[in-house]
């Protein structure tokens, strides 16, 4: 299978061939769930999960370069068991944290290995190609990734340093350091692991897991975030749109869409929103009502969400102020965690 061995499986235990590897090693979920001799593997799986719930990255002997065969298997099996425990527990917040923490752990290995073996044709490049269909090539100025591959991943980042305009771009490639190349895939890695967990079918509860799952259920309750609106004020983009309309000036279609979807998001009704557009130079009551109803998802149509701040920036609709405080959607303005 693409030349991956026990070391790659331990470092990247979410690779496709891992399930087969565990089976071929003579183990199964039933054994991990019932056999008391295998409890150390289950305990290590819990270590991985608990580190993730604390927002930490699980660390082991493998990080320090220990590649003893028994240890490698322990690493691989503990990941598989952790996935089963999370699956039985079924708490999305835990799965998400675990996927993120494990992706960061794998990221460290990817970065270290990529730096060592200079990209193209290497095992690390093969891992990247298998997981993300990304073609990473070594170039004296950095690791070259095709622009289309780069933005497929970077477009989901909110940090401005990841914008293509802030990267070295030439001849259809983006040039990155090993750290950046791997960091680029973190989100995707997290998604990959999350999807991996989603695809696994949950077995019934087993004695070796029961106590751990009860504990995780308690932790999950504390982790569920709850947002409350603490200010009824509109964000600056919405205020600006309202002012434009009030002055009787033309607000572009994208601005009207932003305004309507935002207000729907804040619980306004079609009837309450429609009069806001009456000063628009091309105001037509029938058209306005029709469009608002369409956007609201009335009559069984799709309900549209307010565009994210990134998109509004591209559309020249963002009028960011310090009060925005790093929000990614206008609907988050004036909200805070409970």
């Amino acid at each position: 299978m693409k030349g991956f061995g026990t070391l790659e499986y331990a470092q990247y235990p979410f690779l496709e061939g891992v399930g087969r590897y565990v089976k071929d090693s003579g183990f199964g979920i039933e054994q991990f769930g019932h056999d008391s001799d295998l409890i150390p593997y289950v305990d290590r799986a819990m270590e991985r999960i608990m580190a993730a719930t604390r927002g930490q990255i699980y660390s082991s002997e493998l990080d320090r370069g220990d590649i003893d065969h028994t240890l490698l298997d322990k690493e691989t099996f503990s990941f598989v068991i952790a996935v089963i425990i999370l699956k039985i527990c079924g708490k999305h917040s835990l799965i998400k944290r675990f996927a993120l923490a494990e992706s960061r752990r794998a990221e460290k290995f990817l970065e270290r290995n990529l730096g060592r073996d200079s990209g193209g044709g290497s095992t690390t490049a093969k891992v990247l190609a298998e997981l993300f269909s990304v073609d990473v090539r070594y170039n004296p100025r950095g690791y070259a990734i095709p622009i289309s591959d780069y933005i497929r991943h970077s477009a989901h980042f909110h940090e401005r340093e990841w914008k293509l305009v802030n990267r070295m771009v030439t001849g259809g490639d983006v040039l990155l350091s090993a750290h950046q190349a791997v960091r680029l895939l973190r989100h995707e890695l997290g998604n990959y692991i999350q999807n991996h967990i989603t695809r696994v079918s949950a077995p019934p509860m087993m004695p070796n897991f029961a106590g751990h799952i009860a504990k995780l259920n308690e932790i999950a309750k504390e982790l569920e975030p709850e947002y409350v609106v603490v200010s009824g004020e509109h964000p600056p983009c919405i205020k600006h749109a309202l002012e434009v309309l009030k002055r009787g000036e033309n607000l572009p279609h994208s601005g009207r869409f932003m305004l309507a979807t935002f207000l729907f998001g804040r619980g306004w009704t079609v009837e309450k929103i429609a009069p806001l557009f009456k000063d628009a130079p091309d105001y037509n009551e029938r058209t306005t009502m029709y469009q608002l109803k369409s956007i609201s998802g009335g009559d069984g149509k799709t309900r549209y969400n307010c565009p994210l701040c990134d998109k509004l920036r591209t559309q020249n609709l963002c009028h960011e102020t310090a009060e925005c405080n790093g929000i990614v959607s206008p609907l988050q303005f004036g909200t805070r965690r409970k």
């Binding site: 622009i147 289309s148 497929r152 477009a155 914008k163 305009v165 070295m168 771009v169 091309d282 591209t314």
Partner: protein
Amino acid sequence: MNEADAALVTGAIKKYYLDHHDMVPTPDKISRREFGYQVGGGSMVRHLSYADERALRVMLVGTAPSDVYCSNACYRFPTFAMKEKSWLDASLIFDIDAKDLGLPCRVGHSILVCAECARVSPAAAGKCAACQSQKVTVRSLPCTKCAAASLKEVAKLREILVDDLGMDDSSIHVYFSGNEGFHVHVDPGSFDALGSRERAELADYIMFKGAIPEAYGVPRAPGAKLGLPGPDDPGWRGRLVRSLGAAPAKKAARAGHAEFQKTLGSAGIGARIDPQVTTDIHRIFRMPGSINGKSGLAKVPVPDGSKFDAYTESCLIDSAKVDITAECPHRFVLGGRRFGPYSAKDTSVELYAAVYMICKGFAAAR
């Protein structure tokens, strides 16, 4: 547009498609594309599909649409509702519109058409001079300065597409839109599978939008070592230094992070494309060779390297004389001839000029 105006315009367009059907190239994978059209500038009919070139031509001549559009996207089921079309891919398109360039000449060739009394006023009036209504639409007359400035933006875009995005120059096709802008179509390539959000990133790159000082060698920490790029660096790094000049760039960098951020924001070096067009992966886009219903001019290719007079090359409607009543406070040049100004005057002009003025709302058929 009243009935007589609509008849004159539709007749002219029908003759255009009969005489110039070879001007409208058949899109590749035609049966995978969504088509749409408007007749007499009326409401859009879309979600249409044509099996082949012949079917498309029958529609053009039979319907004589004022505007005809084709998707840059391919779908498994192009005639289905948008959510059910099953999007396959979409080639890259760019729109550069003179009205978005903020050119000082615009007031001089923009005209207000009143939505209430249909009278025409100069843009400087700010409202309808006849009935004082604020409900006016701005219409623009041909302007060579606008066309030249737009073509400069096209050249910037082409350089970015080739040097930075690695496209083959021969895969880039530029068209005059037939009204005020230029459309750039790119042959199918590695960007076709990208979604809207990813295309927004490309658009921001092309517009040089969202650049931060750190990426150009100016760290946030005061007193930290500067690492400005060199003029030969690839992409925006080199382009920025070449545009500012090495010494002014260094001076701006030494002024600190916040000042350099302002320098980046005001550099004005990006190509001024309309990001909405590039990011819309379900758009139906004006077809090359078709008539633009806002002007009666055709969307025509802009040849490489030679002089291009947009308002002559695109003027392909017949030149037989017709009678109209025209109201247009500015003079304009179309098809190499001068027209106007007219103040609610009965006159006889070439059909292409009549169609142009009717489409703009400056004239009525007699």
